[in-house]
């Protein structure tokens, strides 16, 4: 197990290193300069600025320096916000994103599990068709379309919840709900098909042949076994939530990391784009890693010493 863990961590670091390198050199290819209104700057001013941000050095030097700083947790300075470090911008922005992201995950997981389990238990009934339809709608309708509609109908027309901005708990609700739709749909579809597969397994007949009551069979054998692989969905769900926050935060004016990222893209704030890219990638890699560990703890069949038995 330890050997496996070390191997995984090593591989994670290599992946991250490749991402950092690729991002860095891609940024070098970006058109334009990182400064606002460069035409207004005189040559001497530009030289000073370039020197200040280390842009006068050869690319290789900049790269080594960037990696060096990164190892100390320093992602450099923003080109647009004078004197602010990228690290401080990320840490200042992560709170709202994490909050609505986690809240969406919880809402989505609960709703998805409910829908999916009911769907599988009442396979081929009206309830099943209803949940399947809801899940297909949730998977298909783009989150920003759904968010815009939510904002228009619930926020503007009905006035039940704040339309936008970040003022108190109630303003977290609409963005979280908008984000949770994809999660609900994904989880519901997944648990439904998992359960239907487990129900078809021989050991379920064994459980019935033991004389267990139908609800015991469902709870102890079917649902329990179907829930284990749901953990593996956390990776893709994390990505979907991360992706979602980029647009949802823009729509609801949430002062989160996603909004910062889209803003920085529009003004080509190199160092912030890079910083957030690296941060997102690291987060994603970490989530996938944690999911693997949790999964191996939950499923007794997985044994990293000898592979799956």
């Amino acid at each position: 197990m330890t050997r496996y863990l070390l191997q995984r961590i090593g591989f994670m670091l290599i992946t991250l290193f490749i991402i950092v390198t690729a991002t860095f050199f891609l940024m070098q290819l970006l058109p334009g300069t990182p400064f606002t209104n460069p035409e207004k700057l005189t040559d001497s001013q530009l030289t000073i600025l370039n020197a200040k941000y280390g842009l006068d050095q050869p690319v290789a030097m900049q790269y080594i320096q960037y990696i060096g700083n990164l190892l100390q947790g320093d992602l450099g300075y923003s080109f647009q916000h004078e004197g602010r470090t990228v690290t401080s911008m990320i840490s200042g922005r992560i709170g709202p994103s994490a909050f609505i992201g986690l809240q969406a995950l919880v809402i989505g997981a609960i709703m998805g599990l409910l829908l999916g389990i009911v769907s599988a238990l009442k396979h081929n009934s009206i309830l099943d068709y209803g949940s399947v339809t809801l899940a297909v709608l949730g998977m298909s309708i783009p989150s920003f379309v759904f968010a815009a509609l939510l904002q228009y109908y619930v926020g503007v027309k009905l006035g039940w919840l704040p339309v936008a901005l970040w003022e108190g708990y109630s303003s977290t609700l609409l963005p979280s709900i908008a984000l949770s739709v994809t999660v609900t749909a994904t989880v519901a579809r997944f648990i439904r098909s998992e359960m239907l597969e487990v129900i078809g397994q021989d050991y379920i007949i064994t459980a019935r042949a033991k004389g267990l009551k139908e609800n015991q069979v469902m709870v102890k054998h079917v649902i329990r076994n179907a829930l284990i692989p749901v953990v593996t969905m956390l990776g893709p769900l994390a990505v979907s939530i991360m992706t979602g926050t980029l647009v949802i935060e823009k729509i609801f004016a949430v002062p989160g990391l996603g909004e910062q990222f889209t803003l920085s893209i529009l003004v080509l704030d190199y160092s912030v784009i890079m910083g957030i890219t690296i941060f997102y990638s690291a987060l994603f890699i970490f989530v996938v890693f944690v999911v693997d560990i949790i999964y191996s703890l939950l499923d007794p069949r997985i044994n990293y010493k000898g592979g799956a038995a």
């Binding site: 397994q201 007949i205 004389g211 284990i228």
Partner: protein
């Protein structure tokens, strides 16, 4: 009659398919006596597994239906019982062992827990007592280091050991009837013998009646008291082990026996396989299901379903060759000969 524990009468089971109903079991009759072993033999698709599962009512309700007939356990109709009564019976009175030990245990539950679950369902036992019982059962089926094995998961056992666990699980509540659906088919030959010995041994200790479903005549010869031969959803011949093996009356039974290699026979003598392939249940109508493959087919076989002819000893056969009107031209010497040789 008081000795009879389970009777199956004229059982018909149909599958609901896209193209309408497909009758897989077409009138099965048999009785099971206390403590005896009845083997049900037949090719795949002959309806033996469906018969077994319909006794336990383990067939999915959405796709299967008992269209006719009844099953009695200790004189009570299983088909008329409520769902709760049936679940009370499962595992405690009638148990089942399945074909593939690799898939018939829950992979994410410790084997001890899987045995305890059934025990606690049927008997008022504390957790410790149930665990004690599970331990006893593992010891009984001959699993070494049973104490520590209780907390292992199924994948940590070999196939043979897993089948022992399945048997332990099935026998944990001391059932009166054990249905074993091809219990050794998925195992290596040496392990097969061990499992069969174990089942015989346990049967002596517990006096459980066994319905052994198999296509392996070797297993039958080793285990059975009585044998029922199934073909096309029906029992075509039924009798004691000796009757079936030494004086088969149905051409299909004879064909089955002939297609089995024997050690004591001349090696030069070729095996005699049954020509043709099993019937298609969807197109099977009146008449004998075996007519298309039978070497003695008569005109009557195509249009009339033969009825059971029962001898004094209870040896029953469903074949028109037993009819007194059979024309002299029909050559049934093989059957008569083999019939004469032992009676």
């Amino acid at each position: 009659m008081t000795n009879t524990i389970l009777t199956v009468e004229d059982l018909h089971v149909a599958f609901k398919t896209q193209h309408g109903k497909l009758t897989a079991v077409r009138g099965v009759n048999f009785e099971l006596k206390k403590g005896e072993t009845l083997a049900i033999v037949g090719e795949s698709g002959s309806g033996k597994s469906v018969t077994a599962k319909s006794i336990m009512q383990l067939l999915p309700k959405a796709t299967t239906e008992v269209t006719k007939g009844d099953i009695h356990y200790n004189g009570e109709s299983l088909l008329k019982m409520s769902k709760n009564q049936i679940t009370d019976l499962r595992g405690s009175e009638i148990s089942m062992v399945f074909q593939d030990p690799m898939t018939s245990l829950n992979p994410t539950m410790k084997v001890g827990k899987q045995i305890m679950e059934g025990v606690q369902r049927h008997e008022r036992l504390t957790k410790a007592q149930a665990r004690e019982r599970a331990l006893d059962m593992l010891k009984l089926v001959g699993i070494p280091q049973a104490e520590s094995r209780l907390d292992n998961y199924p994948h940590q056992f070999s196939g043979g050991m897993r089948q022992r666990v399945v048997i332990a699980l099935a026998l944990a509540c001391n059932p009166k009837v054990l249905i074993a659906d091809e219990p050794t088919t998925a195992l290596d030959v040496t392990i097969q013998a061990q499992i069969l010995e174990l089942m015989k041994d346990l049967q002596k200790k517990t006096d459980t009646a066994i319905i052994l479903i198999t296509h392996d005549l070797g297993v039958v010869a080793n285990m059975a008291d009585r044998v029922a031969v199934m073909y096309g959803g029906k029992i075509v011949e039924q009798g004691t082990l000796d009757e079936i093996f030494y004086s088969p009356k149905h051409p299909y039974t004879l064909g089955l026996l002939r297609s089995m290699p024997k050690l004591n026979e001349d090696r030069g003598q070729p095996l005699m396989p049954i020509a043709g392939s099993p019937p298609n249940l969807a197109t099977l109508g009146e008449g004998c299901a075996f007519a298309a493959r039978c070497p003695h087919t008569m005109a009557v076989c195509h249009t009339y379903t033969p009825r059971d002819t029962v001898s004094e000893t209870g040896h029953s056969v469903a074949c028109w060759l037993q009819d007194s009107r059979v024309s002299k031209e029909v050559d049934k010497t093989e059957l008569v000969e083999s019939g004469n040789s032992s009676t």
